[in-house]
Symmetry: C2
Subunit: 553 residues, 2 copies
Amino acid sequence: MDISVLQKTRYEYKPKLPAGIAGDINAIKIEIGKPTESISDHKALKEVFKHTYGKPLAVFSKGNGSHSGEYKVGVILSGGQAPGGHNVIAGLYDGLKKGNPGSKLYGFLGGPSGLIDNKTVLFTGEIIDAYRNTGGFDIIGSGRTKIETPEQFEASLETTKKLGLDAVVIIGGDDSNTNAALLAEYFMEKGSKVQVIGCPKTIDGDLKNEHIETSFGFDTACKTYSELIGNIARDANSAKKYWHFIKLMGRAASHIALECALQTQPNVCLISEEVEKKQMSLSQIVESICVSICKRAENKDNFGVILIPEGLVEFIPEIKKLIQEINDVVAKHTEEFSNLSSYIDQQYWLSRVISHESYNVLLTLPPEFARGLLADRDPHGNVQVSLIETEKLLMQLVEKRLNKLKDEGVYKGKFSSLGHFFGYEGRCAFPSNFDADYCYSLGFNAFLLIASGLTGYLSSIKNLTAPASEWIAGGVPLTMMMNMEQRHGLKKPVIKKALVDLEGRPFKTFDLKRDIWAVKTCFLYPGSIQYFGPPEVCDIPSKTIALEHNKVI
Amino acid sequence: MDISVLQKTRYEYKPKLPAGIAGDINAIKIEIGKPTESISDHKALKEVFKHTYGKPLAVFSKGNGSHSGEYKVGVILSGGQAPGGHNVIAGLYDGLKKGNPGSKLYGFLGGPSGLIDNKTVLFTGEIIDAYRNTGGFDIIGSGRTKIETPEQFEASLETTKKLGLDAVVIIGGDDSNTNAALLAEYFMEKGSKVQVIGCPKTIDGDLKNEHIETSFGFDTACKTYSELIGNIARDANSAKKYWHFIKLMGRAASHIALECALQTQPNVCLISEEVEKKQMSLSQIVESICVSICKRAENKDNFGVILIPEGLVEFIPEIKKLIQEINDVVAKHTEEFSNLSSYIDQQYWLSRVISHESYNVLLTLPPEFARGLLADRDPHGNVQVSLIETEKLLMQLVEKRLNKLKDEGVYKGKFSSLGHFFGYEGRCAFPSNFDADYCYSLGFNAFLLIASGLTGYLSSIKNLTAPASEWIAGGVPLTMMMNMEQRHGLKKPVIKKALVDLEGRPFKTFDLKRDIWAVKTCFLYPGSIQYFGPPEVCDIPSKTIALEHNKVI
């Protein structure tokens, strides 16, 4: 297999482990806390999780403990790629083998469907070594199948029996870890001893709480996007002729946009959570962008950078309502809708089934954008926000507004714009040293949770702004992070998504500076992720987590 | 000024110089060769360059020489950004100051117009230090103004008189260096002693020949694009559900696409020069892509990566003809055309003024693409190829063709595609160590050419695949790289653009492997540019130049 020079060199990198779980595998003790409660909906969640609700927190540290049992474990990569997934598997593998060379690790192929259909690979040291400290999920592939139906749960149990598994580790985001909790409960309900452990993955950064400081992949993805934003900002500041509208991946939460803004200091960064809280209309958003453009034009700075979170449109009240209405009527009349072959037909059909108000909103949108709202839907029947070219919508509307301001004599600048979308560029980057260390620790720690006989836990590594040796490893019961939410008309147990906290330090820090950034050119150029340089260049965690831990950035 | 951690650390980097021009500034000797000839059109070029035609090659090496005169020099950044521009200026500044601390360096603001309008900044050590080893052209900005009219030439001469300049250094591509040659000639013609030296800049990599091994910026830009392509390829190989169509900057030549292909091993990489040579029609190109998709579908690999050079459409015979006809009629009837407000009007107008054949080609194109051909034109009245979404055109046409192949039972896969365009992401990246060293050497060497009394030369650093200490510094007379070409109906002297040589080793190497890449998954993941790691990761020049120098890659 041909490999790049960097890949070859990265194989040699030795991820750092927290001191509490490094060294002699039988010199690690577990401390168990008091029973826990879910965020809310205690009663309903106790009903759903009869056997696994309310377990205690667990923390590992130096001490006496035995982790040398022989285990068979299966691991799943679930959902969208995030840098560091391979290291979670490597850490888990190394932990298992360190405990007992007879232990075995299976990888389920292509995501959760690998568990349902019993499609596996048995990992060898050779396989693992070829993926250490690399990006991607290609070691076993990933998938978005949810284990939902009774048949799927049963098939999953069957697979664990056939393979003689002791545990399943699910590497995934909030949805996949909700699934992990349900699977843990199901196995106990059925008298199976198979344990289920989750690992917090998602570049979106929205799987975090008091006990999970960040999800893996967020650091690397944001650093990759910030590299590109910085490069574009420097280009803008050199050519002095374009406004760059840059859309960034991240459907529900705007953590990525906010982190990238802190790293690059663009002129404008929209935050979906703020748009929702202030109930900003599309025209108010356009206006807020035009304010920066007009002020900069007065200084002859007819260029700039604007960051837009991918999910923005779903947070703009009138568009959110429109999307919701479309989703609802399409869900109800799926076949009828799918028989409409042209946009004109779809539009006419909608005019009869959605509210007058929403239909008017649809008509005010540029046609190519309106088409996007009706285009291909995801497996859950929802609008695929990643396919909506929000950046182009804003470019068009801003230009239209500026032309009006020019007619009124308010705006005297020149406006040329370019659109970009960054998502796939960052999900499979070589993990930063931070993510490489964090993921390896998460995987190694998942083994310790298994060896400690726990199930329904999320692998947890805390104190992440300190050097890795000072990190604290442990386990958080999945039910502790859950509440009940409406899904397709039913109340379902789910791990609560962490949206951007408008009272939190990351947003407050941004808020304090953005008025200056809007007018002056304060761009920062972070450059590409470095793996070999001085620690202050290579090992620094995200600005979001630093600020959340009251560090100075 | 806030700066990033990497920027701060990069300030400390000491660019390497060729041994021949390092050390004692007065221990460098110049060797002058025999008179040279232009590539062709000797007589016509001798007419244009009465005073500067046919000068000898110059080479620097250790020996006796005096370079401690006091000079006043002005420097211009011309055209599109390329990583390393700041280092050319830093090298020039350091050379001047090393020769004589009394020497002065002015920067012309905003490109060549800074020379015409006498807009300058006088560099200080503090200014220079803030830009060492950084990307961008923001130290003085860049511009695309050409010095063309007699008034502009005269104004340029006036500026040099007002500032008391001894020399002007123009950092630019083939066009800008053609301008440098004309300016050198003009100054001599007018009895001015002001020397003009060029430096070879362009990420496109098309300013090269026997004496110029590569233009600066190509290395860094290609490495940045390859980082992103590799990340996307790994994502494709993990999710296994998308074909990524990636368009890469580079208008005339496909060097960038070819280099990125050698670095990442995509399934398909189109090379404009091959398309032109084989006179491939659009449908043949689509077919060549479908061959890979169909074969991979047989292996259940319904994913892949396709690289597309930005300028492709101009090399497809029927589209080239169409664009040429549109350019011609629009140039002839600029006002009439600009009064056509809608695409329908434009289309109708075209139906009467272009050939029947070309009009039919226009009709077969998807409307949004056809619109692109008629959209905003550059200052020279040409179609702006960077605004044409070639990647989307191909995505649409490939999908259409695959649907047909599916109906015929030939294709049984699933096809989902995503489009990307990378250009602005790489032009202002922090220069790789290679570009940082190369640019610094080019600038330092430009000073030596000035101190040696030369004019009409391009700064030249050769032997670039060896360690920097073994590089060879010298000067190449600009007229040596020129021929006469048709421009707007007139024969003009121009530096010949280097297109991809279909008989050269870079293309041949690609050609030898591409059939395997088309079917199997052979992706390489180069990762992000490293500045601090082992030399084999940090200091390696491009695969193109390595192959051109008969190195093994």
